[in-house]
Every structure is written in structure tokens, then in C-alpha cells.
């Protein structure tokens, strides 16, 4: 028995959420899914470790939840859309999480995004026909 290898496994810094990860992270993501409900978020807030154990998280997953270490949770099968429910609980945006994955500040992360888009308006003008040129 083995998990199939995929081309996307070689994309650096990337944890494609496939059957292997979904299997590994099922309990963790199920707990995060429960955060759709405000009462559940409050219950989590009253005793985080107890809430993790109620959902059957591993010790390593529980430790990462308590530390709000989202890169670790990603590596342990967390799905980014489900983890976002948890980052929101911790008062962090998806950009804060993105910055934390790289160990940089959110402002640095945002600057990188702006830089990645630099010169786009000239490209639109070259192609022609875009709104606002």
C-alpha cells in the first residue's frame, strides 16, 4: 500500500490538498469546519486542548493548534480554506497566514504582491481593449 506520487509533489513550498492530505488531516479539518458555528468557536475558546481532543486530533496537531502554527497545520493535512476559519478565529487574515508561512511580516507580504503585479497596466495597454487601459 502506498500513496501515489504526483507531478505536483515537486512544486516547492506547496501542499496540494489531495486524498493523502485529506486523509491525514480529516479530524483537523473537521474541527475547523465546526468553526462555521459561533457556539463551537466559543467552546473552542473556553478550552482549546479539550476541543482538539474531542475531535481526535493528534498530539502534534493539537500542539500546532495551540501555538497557532498554521504552516505546521498545513503540513499535517490542514486544508487552507478550513484553516482560514481558524486563522479568522485567531484574528489573522489570510495574508497574515501567508506571511507567516514565509516568516515575513504581513506588510512585506503585501509588498511582494504589489511587486508581482508591477507593470500590469502597460501590459494591458499593449494587448489593447482593456477597461482603463
Amino acid at each position: 500500500m502506498a500513496w501515489k506520487k504526483h507531478e505536483y509533489d515537486d512544486i516547492p513550498g506547496t501542499y496540494v490538498f489531495d486524498g493523502r492530505r485529506s486523509h491525514q488531516g480529516y479530524a483537523l479539518n473537521k474541527m475547523a469546519f465546526s468553526f462555521n458555528n459561533e457556539e463551537n468557536r466559543e467552546e473552542f475558546g473556553r478550552d482549546k486542548a479539550a476541543y482538539c481532543s474531542k475531535y481526535g486530533l493528534t498530539d502534534a496537531q493539537t500542539a500546532a493548534v495551540l501555538a497557532a502554527d498554521f504552516l505546521s497545520l498545513l503540513r499535517q493535512g490542514g486544508n487552507i480554506y478550513y484553516l482560514a476559519k481558524m486563522t479568522t478565529y485567531y484574528g489573522l487574515s489570510i495574508q497574515d497566514a501567508g506571511a507567516s508561512f514565509q516568516g515575513i511580516s504581513t506588510n512585506e507580504f503585501k509588498t511582494k504582491l504589489v511587486e508581482a503585479g508591477e507593470g500590469f497596466e502597460e501590459k494591458l495597454q499593449k494587448l489593447g481593449g482593456y477597461w482603463g487601459g
Partner: protein
């Protein structure tokens, strides 16, 4: 007979929903992005659709990982939005059209697309953000809405080619419905972005613009790319752009370009808007 009047592509990210809730449209960060939707709103006001089919992915509100359909369609007369734990304002419910939905579902299944039929769907930001972008200025939603949900969350995902073919079958399904309805299709999501991992924050303007240009004139272009290749280019969450092809497949290969708009960055993404009109006689 029902007729597809055209299609619109749009981002659906929650940051946009938040910006609308907080009335930030004219802030420098947002202004260019939102202003580029004015021609879309104008076009919609002119063509007056009766029904909007919204192609999007659920991000963990209606579907949990215990059961993820590859393609699902709402078959109800009403759809609710709800708390998805992302801190978004919950919007008013949407009227559906169960008879039309069931017709579409049946036609799709008969054309070998084995849809999951849903008589309750909680619609998340992927659905409500485009609806709000188009019509938040009105006192109530001016159309009936039908959610068409594509799995872009848990791999294996459908291929771009399969999404395009679903769109072709969707076109047939719509245009074989006997009621005189004007239908618009929203292909939502994308464009390039990656939310997860150390690679988070990539944006690929050249790929986004190539996608837009090909989307308009050479709609099968993206169907020749594998999901691996698309994720390489556009990021793991940029794969959502395959949902545009459901909209594109429903329209004729030659469709009239009404509007194209691109802005970057919007939160973590490149945001692309394309409006295509169906000028073909039925």
C-alpha cells in the same frame, strides 16, 4: 425557449465581500478594481437576465470533506447564505428556480455529466461575492439564481477540459428549456494566486493575461493544460480559473466581447473580468 444571453467572469474572494460591506469601493486600493465593474453592471441592466447560473466552488460551508461532489447543482427555490467562519456579513437569501434546475440536471445527466442534485445549498462567498458585485446597488436580487458547484478544493479535481465540456452540455441544457428565460452565466474564481505554503503570494500576470486573451478567442486553449501545469503557473488556488470554462463552454466559440478588465493585486490574487455576449441566433 430559454436563451443564454451571455457570461461574466469574476473573482469571488472574501476580501472583496468585506470591502463592499465596509464601503471601501472608492479607497485608492480598491477604486480601479471596482470601477471596472461599472460596465458589467450597465450591460446587465441592458440585457436584463431572468436567471443567473453561478459557477463556483464551495470552500467548506455547504460541503465538508466527508462528501465532496465533483459537480453539483442546486435544485431549490431558495438558497441561504450563512456564517462560514471567515467573519463575513451574511447576505439576504436568493430565489432559485427548482423546475429549471431539475431540467438542467436531467439534461446534464443524459449527456453523461453525473451531477449531484442538491435541494438545500448554503451558498458561500464564492457565490455571494459575484452576486453582490453585480447587484448590491439594487434593493433586492433582480434574478433567480442557480448554484453550480465545482470541486476545486480536494484533488483530484475535474480537468479544465471536463469543465469546458460541462459548459457545452450546460448550454444545450439551458437552450432546451421551453420557458422564455434570459440566462446569464457567471464563471467565478481565480485568477493566479496561492494562499498556502511557503509559495503563498505568487501572482502570474503574464499567465493571467494569456488566459483572458485565449478565453475570449480560443476557448479550448486552457483545456490543453493539465491541472499540474495550471497550478505551476497560477498557484494552487489559481486552479479555480478552470471554472471560467464552464461558462465559456456554454457560449458559442465566437462570442461578442463586451468588456475586459484586469487588476492586480486584489488581496492575494490577480482579478480578471470578462463579459461575453451570445450573438448567435437560436
Amino acid at each position: 425557449m430559454a436563451r443564454i444571453i451571455g457570461g461574466v467572469t469574476s473573482s469571488h474572494i472574501p476580501a472583496i465581500a468585506n470591502a463592499m460591506t465596509q464601503g471601501l469601493e472608492q479607497e485608492p486600493y480598491w477604486k480601479r478594481f471596482f470601477d471596472g465593474y461599472e460596465p458589467v453592471k450597465q450591460w446587465l441592466a441592458e440585457v436584463e437576465p431572468d436567471v443567473a447560473i453561478v459557477v463556483y466552488n464551495d470552500h467548506g460551508l455547504n460541503f465538508f470533506l466527508n462528501q465532496i461532489p465533483t459537480f453539483a447543482i442546486g435544485c431549490a427555490d431558495r438558497y441561504e447564505n450563512a456564517d462560514e467562519g471567515w467573519g463575513l456579513k451574511t447576505l439576504a437569501s436568493f430565489d432559485g428556480d427548482a423546475e429549471f434546475s431539475w431540467h438542467i440536471a436531467e439534461s446534464l445527466v443524459n449527456h453523461n455529466f453525473d451531477m449531484t442534485m442538491c435541494q438545500e445549498v448554503l451558498v458561500d462567498h464564492g457565490f455571494i461575492t459575484p452576486m453582490a458585485l453585480m447587484w448590491r446597488h439594487l434593493p433586492k436580487w433582480p434574478v433567480k439564481a442557480i448554484p453550480l458547484v465545482v470541486n476545486t478544493v480536494q484533488h483530484p479535481l475535474p480537468t479544465a477540459k471536463r469543465c469546458y465540456q460541462l459548459g457545452q452540455a450546460l448550454g444545450k441544457a439551458i437552450e432546451s428549456y421551453p420557458e422564455d428565460l434570459k440566462v446569464v452565466i457567471f464563471g467565478t474564481g481565480g485568477m493566479s494566486h496561492q494562499l498556502q505554503g511557503e509559495r503563498a503570494g505568487i501572482i502570474n500576470v503574464d499567465f493571467d493575461l494569456q488566459c483572458i486573451e485565449k478565453f475570449i478567442d480560443d476557448p479550448e486553449w486552457l483545456t490543453h493544460l493539465s491541472n499540474d501545469e495550471i497550478m505551476q503557473q497560477a498557484g494552487t488556488e489559481g486552479i479555480e480559473t478552470i471554472m471560467w470554462l464552464v461558462m465559456r463552454g456554454a457560449l458559442p466559440a465566437k462570442a461578442k466581447l463586451i468588456h475586459k478588465h484586469y487588476h492586480v493585486p486584489i488581496s492575494n490574487t490577480g482579478a480578471g473580468v470578462v463579459v461575453l455576449e451570445n450573438t448567435q441566433e437560436q
